[in-house]
């Protein structure tokens, strides 16, 4: 088989779900920073979301598994800390998928735009830390439902 193009690899990576929030892909999450061929070696550069995010190891494993299933034999994963990951790198497709799933996407003003369940605007923060390092807990006073907010960093 010929060497797949970098664009094809990006498409494949866009099929790999985030292990904690499977409605978005690793590409949507913005943590794949670079994909490059160096001869017959494929180099994929990944940046962690939060330093201690336990999903980091699983993410690396998922990338390797997915690419090997597509026939990539020589693969090196690189960790890149700088520039540090920011929620600005979430794709619009990813943000829409998050909201549909019930997680308010990050917003520049540092708080959710609206309740992902009912669209209400009367919101309050319960806790800055949620079920994963990247989420905060919020509550909607209109529909009284709690929800996760993907916090901005």
């Amino acid at each position: 088989m010929g060497q797949p193009s970098v664009d094809t690899i990006w498409d494949w990576l866009d099929q790999v779900p985030d292990p904690e929030i499977p409605v978005i892909s690793l590409v949507d999450l913005g943590i794949i920073r670079d994909v490059q061929w160096e001869g017959d070696m494929l180099n994929v550069t990944v940046t962690p979301t939060y330093s201690g995010c336990p999903a980091t190891t699983i993410i690396n494993l998922d990338i390797q598994t997915a690419l090997r299933e597509h026939g990539i034999e020589k693969l090196t994963l690189h960790r890149q800390l700088s520039p540090a990951w920011t929620t600005d790198w979430l794709t619009d497709k990813g943000k829409a998928a998050l909201e549909k799933f019930g997680i308010a996407p990050p917003s520049a003003k540092g708080e959710p735009e609206r309740c992902p369940n009912c669209g209400g605007h009367d919101l309050e923060r319960t806790s800055q830390f949620g079920s994963t390092p990247c989420k905060a807990l919020w509550r909607c006073r209109d529909c009284l439902e709690p929800f996760d907010y993907f916090k901005c960093i």
Partner: protein
């Protein structure tokens, strides 16, 4: 030989950074499942995760600089108390929730000033770690400061406990600003700031938050030391390590 001396100093500096976040991260993780309310439990566990994640970067780089093939895990699990370089404050037992949050604030405030300076480190590897950590530290300090204010300016009981916490912890604050030949070498190499130079910014933040919390900052200038130099830790560190390093002690070389 000058190169070697600098690498030794850099190794020591990185151990101090990594051991601070490792030991505090472990202490904070002891709250898992025990916090007063679920949200606080989750918040403490997340804070501990961030700290331990930062530890992987600091100790990972320390192992690289040392050049003996030791990994972050080797440094965390295969050293005994005398080889740790964390400040004494982070190894102290948690006490009550208020004392834990007061210590967290006193540490977060230092950490925020420190990583703020390290972002400009002449060593890019250190600047990169600091840039990553700074975003997390900003969240930590916002939360710990809020909690200190909420409890300090809270009920009579919570106020008394928070005043007791700052009175108890204050003599451990000064060690974070001590300097020695390791720090002098870091300053000379443009890698890290003189610890004493962080004090003014630190005091401004701590005084502002504690005053909002209606708490009195102790005026006693005495401080305990011996952690960051490794001269003498408190008795508590050894006990902490027996728990943290249990698996490697019981099953040497175990992997998963």
């Amino acid at each position: 030989m000058a190169g070697k001396t600098n690498d030794d100093a850099l190794f020591q500096f990185l151990l101090r950074m990594g051991d601070n976040s490792l030991i505090l991260g472990h202490r904070v993780s002891e709250w898992c499942g025990l916090s007063p309310v679920l949200e606080e439990d989750i918040a403490l566990a997340n804070t501990a995760l961030d700290l331990i994640g930062q530890t992987q970067f600091w100790l990972g780089l320390a192992g690289e600089v040392e050049g003996k093939g030791r990994t972050a895990d080797d440094l965390a699990f295969l050293r005994d108390a005398w080889d740790f370089r964390n400040v004494l404050m982070v190894e102290l037992p948690n006490g009550d929730f208020g004392q834990t949050m007061m210590r967290q604030f006193l540490y977060d405030a230092w950490s925020q000033v420190m990583v703020g300076r390290l972002i400009k480190s002449g060593d890019k590897r250190i600047a990169d770690i600091a840039e990553k950590a700074s975003k997390e530290v900003a969240y930590h300090v916002e939360r710990s400061a809020d909690t200190v204010v909420g409890l300090g300016d809270g009920s009579e009981e919570s106020h008394a406990r928070m005043q007791a916490a700052i009175d108890y912890l204050w003599p451990y604050v000064g060690e974070m600003f001590d300097g020695d030949e390791v720090d002098a070498a870091m300053v000379a190499a443009g890698i890290a700031p003189d610890p004493a130079s962080l004090r003014e910014e630190y005091d401004a933040l701590v005084n502002k938050v504690l005053s909002e919390a209606t708490l009195k900052v102790p005026t006693d200038v005495f401080h305990h030391k011996g952690g960051r130099t490794g001269y003498m830790h408190t008795e508590h560190l050894g006990h902490l390590l027996t728990s943290m390093q249990w698996l490697q002690r019981a099953y040497p070389g175990a992997t998963w």
